[in-house]
Symmetry: C2
Subunit: 224 residues, 2 copies
């Protein structure tokens, strides 16, 4: 699982990083600073980790994330620690998909296939009622397209109890490995299974609650 | 997806938190400070997010994590930014499993089922050759039990190029939601599908490389 040994060169992305902080020092061939690649990885995610600092201690809090345009959003209770502490501060939002386990014949050449994004920026809290509601519509639609209009409308109390934050996508980078296993020259005949074990997040059988009329189709997720 | 409205009470964990930093302020009934619950969630994970601070900027870096006893380990190239920057500093390691999407009849009652752990502590770098190799054996065994002994042995160069860090599990908390959907009284008849959509990370068909003899069984993962 180490990044310690060289891997075959891959096609690199010629877009310059938005800042030195998001420049990849290790294995730059795995990095992408193109918005298209970054957006695709974010849009495939339901959850991200929001990292912020409080009294010198970093916290990495998992939460739903979604994107609209140049903003990556998350939300929480208006009274939550994460929203109180992160507002106006530097954050990092990390999104990660595990796509496979790469089993080689040496420990060092083990790896994982993944797609990840790190977004660095200053967390901003939405304040306007209309923009909060619009953002929450974006969250619901990012999971089940068309669902917002079908829901019991949001009450003023519910809106007031919900805080929405975002970070701008200007300083972001993606990192991707999506390859077969490889071994050092001479290791190929070592007698152990080697290869790729694909991994993916999949949906199971929907479980309607007791009030759903039999025969009502379950909602189609945006994600496969 | 908001935590803003009350949910039915759940059985709480009577174990006191190890510190005020890991005490759950929101929905304490979802929290667990018992090591058994924490260990089980960590042991189900292949990847975690290590959050650390550099010049006031938090970074959340996804990486393989594994546990042995009271330590949560991760590794990287001995020259990587994460290992250089995190050593001796406060970190947060976050592990997260998405178990389901909870679709209610109001936006606010949407939620997700999940199991998560946050570990706060000071990152320590292993320095002894024997303990580094023992830890890396733990990594391989945490993925495929029995595999370490089958691999081409590690070289001194490979060991020297690999850094292993850990954080003690003394200050950790788990947070879990594993329930059906629920709606506010009166919303149950709103004409939209509501319920749970289970989600899970699953392995696909193993893809052996060109050097695996036909008929060689693929390795059994520790995870289902």
């Amino acid at each position: 699982m180490s990044d310690a040994t060289p891997t075959p060169p891959r096609s690199a992305d010629s877009t310059p990083p938005a800042s030195d902080r998001v420049r990849l020092r290790r294995k730059p061939e795995r990095g992408h600073h193109e918005r298209e690649a970054i957006d695709a990885i974010i849009d495939d995610a339901l959850v991200g980790i929001v990292s912020f600092v409080q009294d010198g201690q970093p916290f990495g809090v998992p939460t739903n994330v979604w994107r609209e345009g140049d903003r990556l959003y998350w939300h929480g209770s208006a009274g939550s620690r994460m929203l109180r502490e992160a507002s106006g501060r530097r954050v990092c939002v990390t999104v990660y998909h595990l796509d496979g386990l790469v089993l080689a014949r040496s420990a060092t050449n083990h790896s994982v296939n993944y797609r990840s994004v790190m977004v660095l920026g200053t967390a901003r809290l939405l304040t306007g009622v209309a923009e909060i509601e619009h953002a929450l519509e974006g969250l619901i639609e990012s999971i089940v397209p068309g669902r917002w209009a079908q829901l019991r409308p949001m009450t003023e109390k519910e809106r007031n109890e919900t805080g929405v934050m975002y970070v701008d996508l200007g300083e972001a980078s993606a990192k991707v490995r999506g390859e077969a296993s490889h071994d050092d020259p001479g290791d190929e005949t070592w007698p152990v299974w080697a290869g790729l074990i694909p991994m993916s997040l999949v949906r199971g059988e929907p479980e309607p609650d007791d009030f759903v009329k039999p025969g009502t189709p379950s909602p189609g997720l945006r994600l496969k």
